[in-house]
Symmetry: C2
Subunit: 171 residues, 2 copies
Amino acid sequence: MNATAAALLGFLHDRPMSGWDLVATAEALIGDFWTVTRSQVYRELAAMEAAGLVVAGPPGPRERRPFEITDAGRSVFSEWLLQPPGSEQIRYPLLLTIAFGHHLPPGRLPAFVAEHREIHEQRLNEYRSLRAELGDDAGPYALATLDFGMRYESAVLDWFDHLPPEIAGGS
Amino acid sequence: MNATAAALLGFLHDRPMSGWDLVATAEALIGDFWTVTRSQVYRELAAMEAAGLVVAGPPGPRERRPFEITDAGRSVFSEWLLQPPGSEQIRYPLLLTIAFGHHLPPGRLPAFVAEHREIHEQRLNEYRSLRAELGDDAGPYALATLDFGMRYESAVLDWFDHLPPEIAGGS
DNA sequence: GCGTAACATGCCACAGTGGACTGTCAAGTG
DNA sequence: CACTTGACAGTCCACTGTGGCATGTTACGC
């Protein structure tokens, strides 16, 4: 059982969903720290259907195939959730570019850096307004993951603000 | 040209290296924000050799095959480095587990959290002593990436320290 | 009625991961 | 000296993850 498939099972606890629904749900709820692609979702659904962890319900409009979790699925999910979670993986292309910065003509890096700073600033703002929207009735788990996002973005922005001029440009 | 292959070319600018050397170098220099596996390295080397970006030098002891970068390789690397770097990807299984925390028997999460906190504390300490070791003569690029690591780890530790008792346990 | 946008799935090539496996050499040990 | 151990070096495979292309369907505004 891989983590992505397990997450899908997790979402199916609430209600039967199609692959499309699951992609949207995953993007909204765990998208900030767990990427899930369409291809992957449909592949996992097919595999889980074959394994009897989900069953397809009556097809809806537009080829829609809602999947329902089975008892076997619930059991596999619970088992997975009890496993100690692994370490995080970070892949940040900007840091690669910076690491090879000495191969780059001077003045090229600051433009890249500015673009990324913008993105992170926006993300932090989105998180903040989402946080305000939710209030405190969102439950501790969603708030904790959101808090992670906010602290991460803040740290990245601080990092940007302390970069030397060779990298960040400016004065 | 994918980023991993490009990074290998970057390292080969300094000196010819075998796949094994490249894995070790990558782990040491960019391993904190870019994962590189053995399998991937040997696969990319084979592909780059076929594409004429690297050439194998005289074989050394133990099946060792040192690769040297070609002019074509240098040119491809420079072009790649000029491309604007993409967004970062983060996948953090612990956050997944927390997001599904309501499916978990109470008391299970704090143990996981404590384990991870330990890891991040250690990493921050390693970064700090590495930073002290390097001094200021390491060049701005390596220092910038290291600084990112330190700020990231600090932020994560702060996050751990502000988790509610349902998640972090304790009082 | 018609075009556009959102919905919904499938397929493929490539990138990335992790483990198993094989073999080589150097150094220390009894 | 034979022997074991561990670092070195590469290969292979199955699975997971990514992104783009293709294809068809329905709702909605004009």
